[in-house]
Symmetry: D2
Subunit: 376 residues, 4 copies
């Protein structure tokens, strides 16, 4: 693991997710640039000190030299520290699970796409929301044509976290999200706007064609955007709206996706991830439940408990880790790899970076329509 030292927010979630299905053992890390914290974290995790490395570069080279070196690395650092470690491990033939957004610039993202394709390694991006069973269910239903032709996509991801913050306030663990040097030029849009953008593409299977963005920085002294209002036009003619916000008091994390086609609509909220509302045209709305009677194979594969026994975000994260393990194990054993990849990929990450750059460009031009396509 790269990042995830004591006090980190997302590192422990990755570790729990990796443990849940017993497919991984954590054997090495470069947890912090602070060497004391790095060693202390290793000790907490019962790692021998020699496998707590000073930095990712040392870790990549020395693990590559070991017969029992790491097979998969998790990168859980701030955004500006995704590209270099990912590249380093890919070059030493280590599979990568990387936090989102992929990088801080599209050019870096494209560089990673190239490296993944060249090396043939597995690369997963932890848009974990896409790995909830009911999101898999939604995607399968859209793909099977149960909505008919998709016309309208409404996605939103509001939080309150920046509302009353000014620059002076904070050394909070996620203060780096408001610092362009570490988060990239995008603030809210990079942190959660990309989640929303990804989820919409993931479920609908549609690629974004163009967008018109009105990005705001409401918080006094803010250096990055904190509210995103974006109009979306997809390939094939569907239209959408995306709202992401860090200034929505009372909203903790209610990522929500709604998709409407010619035959039905669906609605899903991450705060109640085990449910999806299915709305057939001129019919009666149904509450479809994870592991319930109307869910299919895609959801079942991503599910652990019986209906009515709640699963949560750690389980969604764990699906990424276990799906990566399935492929890695199959290759090691010389078996055919399992079916199509369900977890978010490096290409998804690159499209996310294109989305960020297009939105920033649109906003910079006063809210003009901008091409958001990315040929990969």
């Amino acid at each position: 693991m790269v990042g995830g030292g004591q006090g980190a927010l997302i590192g422990p979630v990755h570790r729990m997710a990796a443990r849940l299905d017993d497919r991984y053992e954590l054997v090495a890390g470069a947890f912090s640039s602070d060497s004391g914290k790095n060693l202390a974290t290793a000790a907490d995790l019962c790692l021998p000190p020699e496998r707590a490395y000073a930095d990712f570069a040392e870790m990549a080279s020395r693990e590559a030299a070991r017969a029992d070196g790491v097979e998969v690395v998790a990168i859980v650092t701030p955004n500006h520290l995704h590209h270099a470690p990912a590249k380093a491990f890919l070059e030493t033939r280590v599979h990568v699970v990387c936090d989102k957004p992929l990088t801080t610039r599209l050019s870096e993202a494209l560089d990673l796409v190239e490296a993944v394709r060249r090396t043939g390694l597995v690369f997963a991006l932890t848009h974990a929301y896409a790995c909830y069973p009911m999101i898999r269910q939604a995607r399968a239903m859209v793909a099977a044509g149960e909505l008919g032709e998709v016309r309208v996509v409404q996605v939103e991801y509001p939080q309150e976290t920046f509302t009353d913050l000014v620059e002076e306030l904070g050394a909070a663990p996620d203060r780096w999200r408001r610092d362009p040097a570490r988060s990239g030029a995008g603030g809210c849009i990079a942190d959660i706007g990309t989640h929303a953008h990804h989820l919409a593409e993931y479920v609908t299977g549609l690629e974004l064609r163009e967008l018109c963005a009105d990005l705001s920085t409401f918080v006094p002294g803010g250096q990055v955007d904190d509210n995103n209002h974006i109009l979306l036009r997809y390939e094939g003619g569907a239209r959408g709206m995306l709202w992401a916000s860090k200034v929505a008091p009372g909203y903790r994390n209610p990522l929500r996706l709604r998709v409407f086609g010619t035959r039905a609509g669906l609605s899903w909220k991450q705060e109640r991830p085990d449910e999806m509302t299915w709305m057939p045209l001129r019919g009666t709305a149904r509450t479809v439940m994870r592991a319930g009677p109307d869910t299919g194979e895609a959801a079942a594969r991503a599910s652990r408990l019986r209906v009515g026994h709640p699963e949560g975000l750690i389980e969604a994260f764990a699906n990424i880790y276990s799906e990566v393990a399935d492929i890695v194990a199959a290759r090691l054993l010389g078996r055919p790899t399992p079916g199509p990849v369900a977890f978010p990929t490096v290409e998804d990450g690159a499209r996310g970076m294109k989305f960020i750059e297009a939105a920033l460009e649109s906003n910079g031009r006063g809210g003009a329509w901008v091409d958001a396509r990315l040929a990969l």
Copy 2:
């Protein structure tokens, strides 16, 4: 009453609303251009045949000639038949309650504003959703500064009604809503987009400054827009999004408004009109109920039943009628009129027409930003 003949949808709602508080007696009408239907409707309503007029013009002139002529007229015809009767009755000194949108063109709307101001008569526009007690509560809370400074407005009004319609299908009672000759150039935007636009301005007290509209016509053969995605910029810096749709399967009428300020957010859905969610920043969300402990005077004045005993849309409509009656009665009795007008006015209607025309212009220019201000 003008319009509202047998088979009409909204006419009976107006009549129930006018009766609820026992402030009106229905004494005359021009219910239908079909004279048989006109007379039959009058008979159903126990009116004498001589007060069932062939058209609004005859009704206006002959009622004006009677000592016991109508004091208030309700206009419940399709959009293209609002301006002329409203004007006619204003000119004969009859107060007007008119269905929305105000007219089919801004110029007609401005003409009515002029007539109302000149005559000094009462004019109410039935954006009835603005007359739910909890909307009054929301408006009062914003006005009192309980949200702090408003930053973000999210309003949506989705329906499924046009989803599978093509022109050939229908003589449905509201087929005129898809016919530009009767609805005006706007389809979805005129019918329900204006409700959403009005509700947002009504609650926030903010005027729209500019907008960027992406209007679609998804239904094959459709002559008017059936989906509206609109970015909003308000005076003072607040930003918003408006989604109105006639192609959202499963959605019956869930008009929803959310407003976020520097101190709190609020959320209201018309399908559960007696509740509002109040979300203080970094606090715990509260379900504020009509006639409950956290509601104030504005809501109380618009409320009839104790907490927990549901009120509905007829009651919201009735608030308009009764508030008009309060003013008319006060004038007749030479008493001071009650406090500030709470019901939607002719000026609100004109701003709605400006909103429609600006959105159509923006869309016609490929989604450009367009000035939406209207000096009145």
Copy 3:
């Protein structure tokens, strides 16, 4: 109208309900035993003073002597003043709409049953919750066998109103509900327990066979019960639970009924009266909406607005008034009366009194099982 003087809670609801569908004209009343209040109420309602009577007896006899005397009387007094006026008007051949519970003693209730049967007049009891469209829908679905054989009934009606009250506190408008001299021996059970009991019988079509009641008086100094826990056994083998409470903080009026059969379950809450949750066995729960695609004739007849446009309790009350008017008008015109009576009847009221008396007896015997059948 008998009762409903200035300051009364339920009288104005009856009057709005009677007006809504324009089937009644209020022409006379004995609104209050306080003659000043009686006359003032009459004046508020634009009645001539000679038809504001000192008491119900005078009203019954003098109206009977008029050619234009009342045809239907509404009795909206406290419980101990239901029997005598109801009897008096029945004897002068006036149809009756009476508030619930029917009387304060079963013997009085049986006396009214006899009078209604002897006179052949119409008698409606305002268990208004039974007149919501979705309750009609639920009843029709049970009757049609869509639930299969009913096994389990869960009904609850909690409020917070007595929680912190002691006798000294109050001259609140409904203080009489805590006074056995006016409410009868039952407190909570008479006021809202009977609503719950009725609703369960009304929807399931099952009669209660026996019950076991644990009634509490938590409020210090309370003279009547304020919490009811009751086990129910119905004819045919279904079992149920009834919870009614006046000491449930935070609960305003969420009367709720759930019925489970061999094939499906249903759930309805009065706070959201336009919805019902339908739960087929091993299927996906559906939110059935008033005037929506899965509702039938019984609901449609009790419904005024299109789907998604909320109706409330006044409309449910109005259904009783209009259904009574339908029968009275048919008889006056010599036409066949409409189909089976949908509103609650005098027999329902007598069964409610039997329920109260059986529960009080059970509780008095320490929570013994008691026969609750009533042969009518």
Copy 4:
């Protein structure tokens, strides 16, 4: 681990829970009485075959003989196989985590209480619902007096699973739940009634004094109860109702607890475990969220993710395992053990068995009131 062989339902949940916080290593098991399945399960779990034992007795004795023998055993067998293995491991000084209900007879339960007290070992019973953070929050609020004095407890746990089952139908994994030889004399009451009973006592801190039970067996040919209607009287005067059912179509697992005191009420549903509704008397209901602003220490200790990021049942289960590990580790290290035990104990299990036996006795006597106290 004892039990939890291939195909088992609850065993894998225990294993995930034990892994989540990285406090356990699974080193030995007696997974199945079928030796092939036993070995295959061990292989799946990467255990050496010599630590896959033929039965719990062999495992207890041989692990006791190893220097690296198990320190904690998880017992996840059907009910009739809880007592003997628990006793065997306690006698060899191994701490126990045991599935619920504790045993099939009260006498066995008391025997385990004696053994735990005599040995001083740790014993946890997996009423995992009691280990959700918001249940800990609810318990802390009751204990702190925020509800005032508790008056009313409403608890329910309905499922649909037996609704259409007859004995002939099934070799389903949980068929043993309907076989008195394996589940004990109680069916629904042993399986889920005890969960409800425990949750109510756990949150309120009140002990049950007496009960009156109406147990049904609706399913034709059923050998155990499938619906439980129980009135409850607690020490100190609070009253309650408990509904547990296996014949409630559409209900998957919505365990729900509501508690009402003199100052406030609270409501929690396990299908949305991260939320609790808090209802102050005559105040506005609040949705309290896990890790949100109104949650305290007890909830925080049981919580892993930030507010708005859902946790589920595996996490609740994991709390038991980690809290047991805290105590075991403290003892091993000679440190003071952490504060009061939060997980359910052997005494809770014994009280659960008393509850079952009292309910069966009450029902056998036609629904009489029966003493439910247990002096421990």
